[in-house]
């Protein structure tokens, strides 16, 4: 069953935001710009995830979970030794894109910082989600492996289509896939990870 979870905003990791903004460790210099971005984005962000848990089926060349079948070595490696896996999609919502769009027309520095913040937000959301799932798995004496996404390693971007069909992302969390296989809202992630024994 596809589950939907809504998170409270995880704590902002300033260092990560600055890294995405290509401003390294210069927090003092950009503190006021970054704080302004956090303040403006604050209420507009939502933190939504939908996910499901599947059994993994292996054949000689392929690895399959639910309706998705792939020969990707990256997937095989990430799921090796696992009998089950989690597939999820996460988004911080379209209002963030609108805010970035607004400032990309009027203040590119702010657009850059907001975009970096959006990337950090969705990554932190994924981290918070994995932590929660990891805790739940403890009772089963199991743990999560690292997460991988389409486009990573040799995983084809076209797997996005299958993931979207499987997780019903549009209805569950308002996440859509464009013709070019890019996601809207843009600050979103789809990923999978194996469930291994401890």
């Amino acid at each position: 069953m596809i589950r939907k979870v809504i998170f409270e905003g995880p704590k902002v990791n300033y260092k990560e935001v600055l890294r995405y903004a290509r401003a390294k460790d210069s927090y003092d210099e950009y503190a006021s710009l970054l704080d302004e971005c956090i303040r403006e984005a604050g209420d507009l962000l939502s933190y939504r995830i939908c996910y499901d848990r599947y059994e993994i089926v292996r054949s000689s060349d392929f690895i399959r979970f639910s309706a998705i079948e792939t020969s990707s070595d990256t997937v095989k490696k990430a799921l090796s030794g696992c009998d089950e896996m989690i597939l999820f999609s996460a988004t911080v919502g379209s209002e963030m894109d609108r805010l970035i769009l607004r400032y990309s027309r009027t203040s590119p520095s702010k657009a850059l910082m907001l975009s970096a913040l959006g990337t950090e937000r969705v990554e932190s959301l994924c981290d918070a989600f994995c932590e929660q799932i990891g805790r739940e798995l403890q009772s089963e004496q199991k743990s999560l492996r690292r997460r991988i996404s389409p486009g990573y390693g040799d995983i084809p971007l076209s797997m996005q289509k299958e993931i979207f069909a499987l997780l019903d992302c549009e209805r569950k969390i308002g996440l859509t896939l464009g013709e070019n296989l890019l996601m809207s809202p843009s600050k979103s992630v789809t990923a999978l990870m194996g469930i291994g024994s401890k």
């Binding site: 069953m1 596809i2 589950r3 809504i6 903004a21 290509r22 401003a23 390294k24 210069s26 210099e29 950009y30 710009l33 939502s46 499901d52 639910s66 309706a67 998705i68 919502g93 379209s94 209002e95 894109d97 609108r98 970035i100 769009l101 607004r102 990309s104 027309r105 009027t106 203040s107 590119p108 520095s109 657009a111 850059l112 910082m113 975009s115 971007l157 299958e162 979207f164 069909a165 499987l166 549009e170 209805r171 308002g174 859509t176 896939l177 464009g178 013709e179 070019n180 296989l181 890019l182 809207s184 809202p185």
Partner: protein, 799 residues
Amino acid sequence: MNIREYLQKHIVILDGGMGTLLQEKGLSPGERPERWNITHPEIITGIHRAYFDSGSNVVNTNTFGANLLHFDREELERIISSAVDNAKKAREQSSAPQEKFIALDIGPSGRLLSPMGDFDFEEAVAVFAETVRLGVRYGVDLIMIETMNDSYETKAALLAAKENSDLPVFVSNAYSENGKLMTGASPQAMVALLEGMGADAIGVNCSFGPDKLAPIVREYLKFSSLPIILKPNAGLPESIDGKTVFNISSDTFAGITADLVKDGVRVAGGCCGTTPEYIRKLCEDIGTVTPSCEKKDLTVVSSYSHAVTFTDDPILIGERINPTGKKRLKAAIKSNDINYILEEGLRQQSAGAHVLDVNVGLPEIDEPKVLEEVICELQAVVDLPLQIDTSDPVAMEKALRRYNGKALINSVNGKKESMDAIFPLVKKYGGVVVCLTLDENGIPDTALGRVEIAKRIIGTAKDYGIDKKDLIFDTLAMAVSADKNAALTTLNSMRIIREELGVHTSLGVSNISFGLPKRDIVTSSFFISALDNGLSAAIMNPFSAEMMKAYYSYRVLHGLDENCSDYIRFAGLLEGGSETVRAGEKSDFSSADTLELSIKKGLKDQAASITAGMLLDIEPLTIVKKHIIPALDEIGTEYEQGRVYLPGLLMSAEAAKYAFEEIKKVLSNSDSGSASKCPFVIATVKGDIHDIGKNIVRLLLENYGFQVCDLGKDVAPNVIVDKVLETHSPLVGLSALMTTTVPSMEETIRLLREKAPFAKVVVGGAVLTQEYADAIGADQYCKDAMDTVRYAEEVYSNL
């Protein structure tokens, strides 16, 4: 009996969930349920029949995702014809006594409309239109647009339904936890949009159980005059022993939903997780309820996010996006400088405007095209409702069609020709229209003459099916300097129209002081008099401190400002020297700060005010050459050496832009071209929707004096080539962020070489490298914005 008639006298019972039942019957995850109409017709018919047997008046065909994005034309037709056939069979088989109808079910496309996504509005209309035409051909009784979570897509679907059928249309949206659509619309904004466009019933479905949907559906009941739909889920899904179970039982579901029916909901059913059992209990709990309908006389406009209602609390309509008498804006419209227009919109919003007037009427432009573009760009970044202001009905229709909400329409007047052109547009697209009290004989000198015209306009509007709540009257403020009684006639007629005809009013208040010195003094006094005489909305300048003082004090004095808190906040801004109120008159900066320093520190307002001061005794071009460019060069070098990071470079560039704006104000009298270099066309190539990097390049190029023509993102090769030919631009910049769009960049370069061999092509973007650039035949690869500037300067110096 048809469904429209039935709806007037009865509560309409819809069906329940389809997807959850199909999964139980073996639909695989990821499989398209619409194909089951063909492969498993007996199962689909069985489900429909069970709903009819349980008391549903309407079943939705199994066509939620039946559209051209998911199926080719031929398969789509087979799916829809079988789907309608399955529902008809169920209707024949069911012996239940109630009236039975079949609705063509239309769900979201699965794509997000541009500019937030990559799906064009007209393409969306076309996709829905095909589904509608097929549904009509195979004989459905009504159209049900449901589970839509974006206002713009909802509009596209409703427009498609209206343009391709005469069937009744029910429209239902899915809401998020925050009580809004995924893309931000409030329930009241959706009511305004959908009522305006003539939906037959509107409401909410899916999302949550009836308990959590209750507050949202109550908003609909409060604001809408239409029958309201409620089709909730059976609560939230839980997994018990590997089976999906919803957490609200049929008893609880029926109880809560039936109570909401007793409170005014007129169309009820269930969504995910509900079964024929839920519908049977719902019918029992509703029993016999006579539907009531209370007409709400609310004058409302809306944006993609929220509604603005006309009340006794004055509405401020920002007048600054109108080229009349504004040289800088004229120049911006002519050169397609959308950014300037957007900034003007955002500034008015922060100055306190509630609605923005948008007028781009200049004789030398293609007004329909420009107005449509400006409306689309503005509504993407500003969340205020817009007032579309044009005398060209073609431009009006284009803009209204693309508008994401219920617009203010400026304007219609008592001339037959005007009403014949504008009222059909109001009827089709919705809107509140400003009615000017003039006709074929001009503007009457007397108040009564203007009131007579108003009455006639109300009568004609009614013939077109437009209620007077969607008309607001402008009794025309004329210059008192030309006619000493001008103000009195305007005010008297306005008072009579508001009080006796019971409609709202607006005025372009600034006209009153035309020809007088210190106009703000007269205009703001007139504004207060007008408010005392029944003015609901003023088209005004929100940057005028006098006008804002008048507005805030009026609200305090008329009990509209709880605890005087808005006034106190405003007064605080006045004391603190607020930017918006004192735009352009700032002078408080330390004399030790130079323009160079403020640019390097990225202090925008300081850069602007220092420049304004310098312009008093230094030539504008000298400021550019001796102060701004050297500061930019220095920060650019520091960036290249890794001592300044990208955000720092951008902040400096923005500060320089503020300084340039001051210089442009002085130069716009003479030829501003004297400060600029050659044209430079830039675009993100077809298929790619990333544009932050490209915008950074544009900003820096503009700073260095290039006439940047920014075509935006996802731009087709021929559009780029046409622009290069039109401007004879010696430089073209192409950006791509994804490997998948590099071929599109290559195609663009090939076409440029063929048609515009004179242009140098520079490419950049995350995926590009020197090797890549060489392989696709670019003249130059630039690793970042500064690199692009250096290259452009080099090409320019060799021209």
